[in-house]
Amino acid sequence: MLLREVEYARPSSVEEAIQLLAAHDGARALAGGQTLVNVMKARAASPDVLVDLNRLDELRAITVSGDTLQLGAMATYTQIRGSSEVEVSRPILAEVAAQIADVQVRNRGTIGGNVCSNDPTNHLPPLLVALGASMTIRGAGGERTVPAEEFFLGVYMTVVAEGELLLSVSVPAAANAADGFASITIGRDGTCIANAAACISEDSVRIVLGCVDAVPVVLTPTGTDDDSIRRAVDGANLEPPSDVHASAEYRRHLAGVCAVRAVQQARARGR
């Protein structure tokens, strides 16, 4: 509890938000705050200026245009879970959003905050990499779009540079996509110890592992059968971190289990 002193601004437009972020050293965007405020309570990290995005309704929109589902960076997990657009165009997103933390956190936490914080145990980074999402970022110099695979740089680090703002996440729309997600958590609904997302397309299968490295780890196994998946995980020579919940060895094993389960789920769904 008890934060360090911090400056606060609540812009009324995306442009103003970007200006604020650019104008102040140590400024950070405040999205849902379900990670950032917590970290500030521990005084582990202390931004100098918070730019509160919560009144920027234009960042909350979830829309489908053509074959793209676009989620505003400020779309909450609750919104994603209840969105008919998500339901018809990439339902796995709603399913996974429903697994994050708890009701209160889902009411505030946002997709943008989730990916920008990139805690290795988060659900969405591996999922979005698996789905082939892309992130749209705007700064003073204009807008750019980065594939999810290149978006994550390290623990709590992404390509969103100082003075930039993540605007939205785009996911290819595919109502019947063969997607899967599996996790092992602390208790029924705690932090992930290991997780994996899978996406099977016509010509390939893509598995993305969370919790085993600073950034999601992408695997492209040769087939969708359990053995191919296990071989791919074994072949990745993972060096996952050890902590009180899992030794490196156990976490490596769980990564394999999650990968197989995510693919099984994807296979079942794709049928």
Partner: protein, 181 residues
């Protein structure tokens, strides 16, 4: 937590040695240095802000050179204070000539104390790996520039917030162990 690895550098050993043993050049290797003060030839202090996306971890780090055997071995202790945690790091470098370049073997033992540090154990290992990767990348640049310039010191260090400093490094940490209790 112990991390160790080896790194092949194209510069000659004496150049690498100079970069590693010059506090001012060392400062440029570290992530997010905001202030730097040399107290004497064995002690210096850096104020750093480790650039994490959540807002940066501010620490004051005191360095002490414990042992050196030019041009092959140096041991450095660092003690960081801040963010409700105390960091202790012991680092060792072993330099060997390797062709025209240098083969560097390094070890670091990092310990974090305090409630906030304990909270961060979960992500400590990936963060340290990442920061070590950054330092090694910066070192590579620094020594190649130093070698090109004939003596020590590029003008510009690596700006910690610039993305290119964080490119994944294939020669990053090759082995990690964390004590499990």
């Amino acid at each position: 937590m112990k991390v160790e690895g080896t790194k092949e550098l194209s510069a000659p050993r004496d150049v690498v040695w100079k970069v590693l043993n010059d506090p001012a050049q060392m400062a440029k290797l570290m992530p997010g240095v905001e202030g730097f003060e040399i107290k004497d030839d064995r002690h210096w202090q850096a104020k750093v802000k480790i650039p994490l996306g959540l807002g940066g971890l501010r620490m004051t780090v005191d360095f002490e050179k414990v042992e050196e055997r030019e041009p092959e071995f140096a041991q450095l202790n660092a003690k960081g204070n801040g963010v409700g945690a105390i960091m202790n790091m012991q680092t060792q470098f072993h330099l060997a000539e390797s062709g025209g370049g240098t083969s560097m073997r390094w070890e670091a033992d990092v310990k974090i104390a305090g409630p906030v540090g304990a909270m961060g154990q979960r992500v400590l290992q990936p963060i340290i790996n990442q920061q070590v990767g950054n330092v090694l990348t910066a070192l590579e640049k620094q020594v190649s520039e130093a070698a090109a310039a004939g003596t020590g010191g590029a003008e510009q260090g690596i700006h910690p917030a610039s993305p290119e400093a964080y490119e994944a490094d294939p020669d990053g940490p090759t082995h990690n162990t964390q004590d499990q209790s």
